[in-house]
């Protein structure tokens, strides 16, 4: 789409939307949001960017192949889920830091799990979208 307004707008939209998606991701445990929605929003951000600038440019911005994000995210999920084993607790037990962090709030294994989901969703959506967009 060769619209100057759209192009310029998308340049500002991308970081804003990404920031928003991270915000949604982090607040998930207490307020509506979470890794799944956050991931979807991030994908929307990248997709809009690719509409304006073309796939190639979006790929250079992401730097990594989105396909790589899927195993990366899954790994984070697994580590978050299995980390209680280190303390000889059953898997998937929630582990929490005692003090809340600045801006983020309470941090626990559930948050890392959510971050993993976030990456998996971004990877999956972008892989599907990019594949279709490139081939059709």
């Amino acid at each position: 789409m060769k619209s100057l307004v759209f192009k310029t707008a998308s340049n500002y939209l991308l970081p804003l939307l990404l920031l928003f998606s991270i915000f949604i991701l982090l607040r998930g445990h207490y307020l509506p949001g979470g890794g799944f929605v956050g991931g979807l929003m991030a994908s929307v951000a990248f997709l809009i960017h690719s509409f304006a600038h073309g796939l190639k440019e979006t790929r250079t911005i992401i730097r990594v192949n989105p396909g790589f994000l899927m195993p990366f995210g899954l790994m984070i999920c697994l580590i978050a889920g299995l980390s209680p084993w280190v303390l000889s607790l059953p898997a998937m037990t929630g582990l929490w830091f005692d003090e809340p962090f600045k801006f983020v709030g309470m941090v626990g294994s559930a948050l890392f799990f959510d971050i993993g989901v976030y990456f998996v969703v971004v990877g999956t959506t972008l892989t599907i979208m990019f594949t279709i967009a490139e081939t059709v």
Binding site: I24, G28, H29, Y30, L31, P32, G33, G34, G35, F36, V37, L40, M41, S43, V44, L47, I48, F51, G67, M70, P71, G73, L74, C77, L78, G81, M92, G94, W96, M106, G108, A110, F113, D114, G116, V117, V120, V121, G123, T124, T125, T127, I128, M129, T131, I132, A133, T135, V136
Partner: protein, 768 residues
């Protein structure tokens, strides 16, 4: 014991890693495994005759009663000795037989896998574990039969064998599960305590039938026999091992094992008598029309297996004893005959019985082994075959019912088998050497030593039956028959009818051998009959199945997404419509329903308009956007009823969907009307019906009082247990985190699927 059973699997699993480096030494290393196992079992033979029960137990899935329980009783000892003993010979024989074969490492891997599974079958006390090993023998024999995997015939017979025996195995599984549900345990020795419950239960008939089908398919009984001659496409050592000595006897083993538990009923005995009798006679007749040595042996094996089933069917003590002795007899002489056939094939390049003669001049030791095997199969005195033959005649002759019928059919089969045995063991060696075969050289010692060893065993046990009597046959007899009478094997029973029958067999058989010559013409005469053979029937059935599957696939998988959706919706409509036909209870409590707010009216109107727009618009883009609007309107509903999480997700998904459509749409030509009005009306009817049904179902759900227990638990414990206030998120990442983990994995699989489906190019020519 676990190591004993699994060692073959371990070796087989190692093969791919060492095979490439040590192809020449590997067979040697492997060949010591069966020897080791054989000596292991031999050391236990004394404790067996001293009546101590040998059991080993390892936990596997104790909660389901599936444990690796092994028991060494007489029957399993006999089979274990045969498996490892004949196994050792086959292993050593194959070193030379397959020398220089590019896949020799693979061969030994499969063979070890097979040996281990077979040991598992005969030693398992747990029926379910036995079943697993049972199917493993089918699978490993599939590999072995299809060993020459570039030959389409070899592949086809491997598939036939696998489908027949594998399918039979599945039926057997049903039988085992039924047996467990009636008897309450998978453990065979525990089942014995519940014998009367099983015999009286209504499932008894089914149990017996299913176990029969499993055994009959495995042991090549009529009408499932035809896979065995086909399986002769395998290398000869495989035929020796699988198709004479071990695997095909697994069915016999199972019947023998089950006899004390399920036997001695009319259903059991008569079915076995009839099936075994038919197989015995049918295959024996067939054998006389073959000219390929392996073909003759295949059919005579089927006949012998039929004879064993027949004897178990007779079921008297004598008959069971005869069966026990005949299992060993047959294994010894038939394995020898197969090995000899392999030698002949290897040295002369032909197995055509009409061309082979006079080979004794070039391969003396092989000829001696051949004579011994043939005479044992015929049942001459001083050979092991004599003992089993006498016992067989004695059992049928003194049977209270149908004695003459049973004896005469046995006599008939015995005479024909004698001829078949002579053809394989005597004919190729006797007479003078023809010119065609003049250049044949004697085989290596590796090839002739194994059949000679088998021959020695035959003569040794035949001449001195006391060697077998107490040490091996007594425990075998006890485990088959379930009683502990003393047995005796003797060479001389005095002058009586049985002896007369024996002499009659020998004379008639020898006369037949002299006057009935195998010729190509005789083989050709059987060809017209193949149209009515069970093999043709089942092959036709299989072809019909293929054709049906083709039609069915074209009907439901025709490549048009719209047709898939249509058939799914139509199917659901029919199913649910049928259920609703039985009666619907819808009750709407108007008092509970809050007043319709103006915003809801607006959103619903919006939805209806966009639906109409999506259907009627001629522009594709407009339709897609209209679909998106429907989704967003849905989000608003979620918001109205305070489900912000859902609304957010739906919102993002809808955005993504519209964007995805947009990606594709740029590349597509303008919208065209592909569907005629009739199709559109049909689609409209289906979708309206489906929508109606869903609406009715939704209303029905309202009538049911919903349980709030679970949601209350989550709401109350979200913060306490998981430190989160957003219950939805807490459920996703904490309470049901494992689900989420698996779901994300599914997502990834879906992405990989889309990626590979789109990138996959099945038709590279299209690019050019």
């Amino acid at each position: 014991m676990l190591l004993v059973v699994l060692s073959g699997f371990i070796l087989a699993a190692l093969t791919p890693f060492v095979g490439k480096i040590a192809k020449t030494y590997l067979p040697w290393v492997f060949s010591f495994l069966p020897v080791l196992l054989f000596s292991y079992f031999l050391t236990h033979i004394n404790s067996l005759s001293s009546k101590t029960k040998l059991t080993w137990s390892y936990e596997w899935v104790p909660s389901l009663g599936i444990n690796l329980d092994f028991e060494l009783n007489g029957l399993s000892m006999l089979f274990a000795l045969m498996i490892t003993g004949i196994g050792s010979l086959v292993y050593f024989y194959s070193i030379y037989y397959l020398k220089g074969h590019p896949y020799i490492d693979r061969f030994y891997g499969y063979l070890s896998m097979f040996m281990a599974s077979m040991l598992g079958v005969v030693l398992s006390d747990n029926l379910l574990v036995m079943f697993i090993f049972w199917e493993l023998t089918s699978i490993s024999s599939f590999f072995l039969i299809g060993f020459n995997n570039e030959d389409p015939k070899s592949r086809k017979s491997a598939l036939t064998a696998l489908s027949i025996t594998g399918l039979g195995g599945l039926v057997l599984l049903v039988g085992i599960l039924l047996l467990q549900s009636v008897g309450g345990t998978y453990s065979f020795s525990d089942l014995a305590a519940n014998k009367s419950i099983i015999l009286e239960s209504s499932a008894y008939t089914w149990i017996v039938l299913f176990i029969f089908i499993g055994s009959f398919t495995k042991s090549a009984q009529f009408p499932f026999h035809f896979w065995l001659p086909g399986a002769m496409k395998a290398p000869t050592p495989v035929s020796t091992y699988l198709h004479s000595a071990t695997m095909v006897k697994a069915g016999i083993f199972l019947l023998a094992k089950m006899t004390p538990l399920l036997g001695s009923t009319a259903l059991w005995n008569q079915t076995l008598l009839i099936v075994g009798g038919i197989t015995m006679v049918y295959a024996a007749i067939h054998a006389l029309f073959r000219i390929d040595l392996k073909g003759i042996l295949a059919y005579s094996t089927i006949s012998a297996l039929g004879m064993l089933v027949f004897l178990i069917g007779v079921g008297t003590e004598k008959a069971l004893l005869a069966a026990s002795v005949f299992i060993l007899t047959h294994a010894l002489y038939k394995a020898a005959l197969f090995l000899i056939t392999g030698i002949i094939d290897h040295q002369t390049g032909t197995r055509d019985i009409t061309k082979l003669q006079g080979l004794q001049h070039v391969m003396k030791p092989v000829a001696i082994a051949g004579y011994i095997a043939a005479l044992s199969s015929a049942g001459f005195p001083l050979f092991l075959g004599f003992l089993s033959k006498e016992l067989m005649y004695e059992s049928t002759f003194h049977n209270p019912e149908f004695a003459w019928l049973l004896t005469s059919s046995l006599l008939f089969a015995k005479i024909l088998l004698l001829v078949a045995g002579f053809w394989a063991g005597i004919k190729p060696f006797s007479g003078s050497l023809s010119n065609e075969l003049a250049s044949v050289k004697g085989p290596s010692a590796f090839l002739w030593i194994p059949p000679v060893i088998l021959g020695i065993g035959t003569v040794l046990f035949g001449a001195f039956p006391a060697l077998l009597e107490k040490s091996l046959m007594q425990p075998v007899y006890e485990s088959i028959s379930g009683n502990t009478n003393e047995i005796y094997l003797s060479l001389w029973h005095g002058f009586n009818w049985v002896l007369l029958l024996s002499i009659l067999t020998l004379i008639a058989g020898t006369l037949l051998f002299v006057y009935w010559k195998p010729t190509l013409q005789k083989l050709e005469k059987t060809i017209p009959f193949e149209k009515i053979s069970p093999q043709t029937f089942i092959e036709n059935f299989a072809t019909g199945f293929w054709v049906f599957a083709g039609y069915w696939t074209r009907l439901v998988q025709n490549g048009y997404l719209r047709n898939y959706v249509l058939s799914i919706l139509a199917f659901l409509t029919i199913i649910m419509g049928y259920r609703l036909y039985e009666g619907v209870s819808i009750y709407i409590d108007w008092n509970q329903i809050s007043a319709v707010t103006p915003s809801e009216v607006i959103v619903v109107t919006l939805m209806i308009i966009s639906i109409l727009f999506a259907i009627l618009s001629t522009s594709r883009t407009a339709s897609i956007v209209a679909l998106g609007v429907i989704g967003f309107a849905n989000c608003l509903f979620f918001l109205f009823y305070s489900a912000p999480d859902l609304a957010m997700t739906q919102f993002s998904i809808d955005t993504l969907t519209v964007l995805l459509f947009m990606l594709v749409l740029f590349k597509l030509p303008k919208n065209k009307v592909f569907s005629s009005n009739r199709i559109r009306v049909r689609d409209a009817v289906v979708s309206i019906l489906f929508g109606l049904l869903i609406a009715i179902l939704t209303l029905e759900v309202f009538v049911e009082p919903s349980s709030t227990e679970i949601s209350e638990y989550y709401a109350n414990n979200a913060y306490i247990l998981a430190k989160g206030r957003n219950v939805v998120n807490v459920i996703l990442v904490d309470f049901r985190g494992m689900d989420t983990l698996v779901e994300t994995t599914v997502l990834i699989i879906a992405a990989i699927g889309v990626f590979s489906l789109i990138k996959l190019n099945l038709n590279p020519a299209k690019d050019q």
